[in-house]
């Protein structure tokens, strides 16, 4: 009986020890802004803010709003995918797939792809100055994403 109690105690302690790791796994970008360094396959290298609104809209600086969802049928909150919403008026598409990591999702890494075939990699960190009011533009020629 004592042995069983010891095993149960050990399992409980191991479970508690595992909690911080699990908490880190559930980090989410929702409601947060990130400043990311973007590298493009066309040689471009620029900074851009990404704000993940709680309504599922991702505001991409120098481009505009796209929609985002989480991986695993919108359940895996530390991994996201983003693309233009239905109803856009031009035929240019910008898509992202990425992850947040670290304590409370402080870091962001992602891959991007445009309908021109340009690929991007993003490395960012949580930045409270990246807010929804950040100016965005979809004007042709002015965006480094195009």
């Amino acid at each position: 009986m004592t042995t069983i109690r010891l095993v149960l105690l050990a399992c409980s302690l191991l479970g508690l020890a595992g909690l911080p790791a699990h908490a880190a796994d559930t980090a989410s970008p929702r409601g947060k802004g990130y400043l990311a360094h973007v590298y493009g396959s066309d040689g471009q290298d620029f900074l851009a803010c990404f704000f993940f609104a709680r309504n599922g809209q991702l505001l991409v600086e120098h481009y505009g709003p796209v929609l985002y969802r989480f991986d695993a049928l919108d359940d895996q909150t530390n991994a996201f995918q983003a693309l233009n919403a239905t109803g856009q008026v031009d035929d240019f598409w910008l898509t992202f797939h990425g992850n947040v990591g670290g304590d409370q999702g402080r870091t962001l890494t992602a891959n991007g792809l445009s309908s021109y075939g340009t690929t991007f990699i993003l490395q960012g960190r949580l930045d409270r100055t990246c807010k929804p009011q950040q100016p965005t533009s979809r004007s042709a020629g002015a965006s480094p994403w195009r």
């Binding site: 396959s41 919108d74 991994a79 239905t86 035929d91 309908s115 075939g117 690929t119």
Partner: protein, 138 residues
Amino acid sequence: MRRIGTPWVLGLALACGLAAPALANPPAGKRYAVTVFGKSGGPFTDCFAFTPWGQMTIQGFGQLIWRFDALDSELGAFQAAPTLGNLGFGLLVHGTVQGEGGETMAGDIATSDGATFVFQGVLVSGCKGNRAPGQSYR
């Protein structure tokens, strides 16, 4: 004429065998029979075809453009986006392939309507889906 010895032939065959998976760069040039699961609605089958020059055809949707992750350098992890000229509805696909020859794949799909899907597939050269284009992801 000098004869090539058996050890040389065996060595050459072994080298070619080892190099083949790396040269194949899956999923480039391959077709996968895929089962797609949505948050609402039952699973359905589809066929994903990847050309070596960066075009992807989803039988239940249409044409996409695809590249590897990490600025098109991370073999085995891919992303796909709608092509220029695609107005209105679009898909984003992100996935990974597994196995030395890219025998299996798995990943996530998001649509411009906000729906999400997950998929699992196996390498099948003559795969066929069970949905017509436009019926599966809306």
